[in-house]
Symmetry: C2
């Protein structure tokens, strides 16, 4: 559930979105894109949580170049287009460099 990322530095893409009422095809597309992301060079992991108000998905990558390649990946581009047209009311994408991390396990 919590992504097992490697030592810093690595990169995080924080995607936060509010959804429209249109659900057709959405879950399938999320699954398809998650599967596809995992096959990309430089993909390190993904964490997602959705409630009825806000969707947050954080993906982790080894470099900015890997993030750019994923953004421009053909099937992913088509999915982004559909997302803007059908599924998302609004979203924000923040690309960031992780400079420190720590964890706790009980």
């Amino acid at each position: 559930m919590i992504a097992k990322t490697l030592a810093i530095p690595y990169y995080a893409v924080v995607f936060t979105a509010t959804r429209t009422d249109m659900d057709a095809g959405y879950e399938e597309m999320v699954q398809k894109m998650t599967d596809l992301a995992q096959k990309q060079d430089g993909f390190l992991g993904i964490e997602s949580s959705t409630n009825n108000k806000l969707e947050i998905s954080v993906s982790y990558w080894s470099s900015i170049e890997a993030i750019k390649k994923w953004k421009d990946q053909t099937d992913h581009e088509a999915a982004q287009k559909l997302g803007r047209k059908e599924w998302y009311k609004s979203f924000k994408v923040r690309i960031s460099q992780v400079v420190r991390d720590y964890e706790f396990t009980n």
Copy 2:
């Protein structure tokens, strides 16, 4: 819902957690800490989403120093201690510098 952060550079703290079965006092504490964070110098916004598997909370700050001060804030320290003892099975904190952001509104 989506935090209205200012121009880059700014900083994001990505907190992802799995919860224990203990719920007593949890929601109240989350609300209290969210209210308190908003009073801290350098706080820019917060986005949270929880489902039954994973909790994600991303807070945004103007500087690393502001993040450190919030981590060490007395009431917040006590809350973190309780979190480790009662509410969280595991969590990971990632502090990162936002280097690019963009948004979409329908």
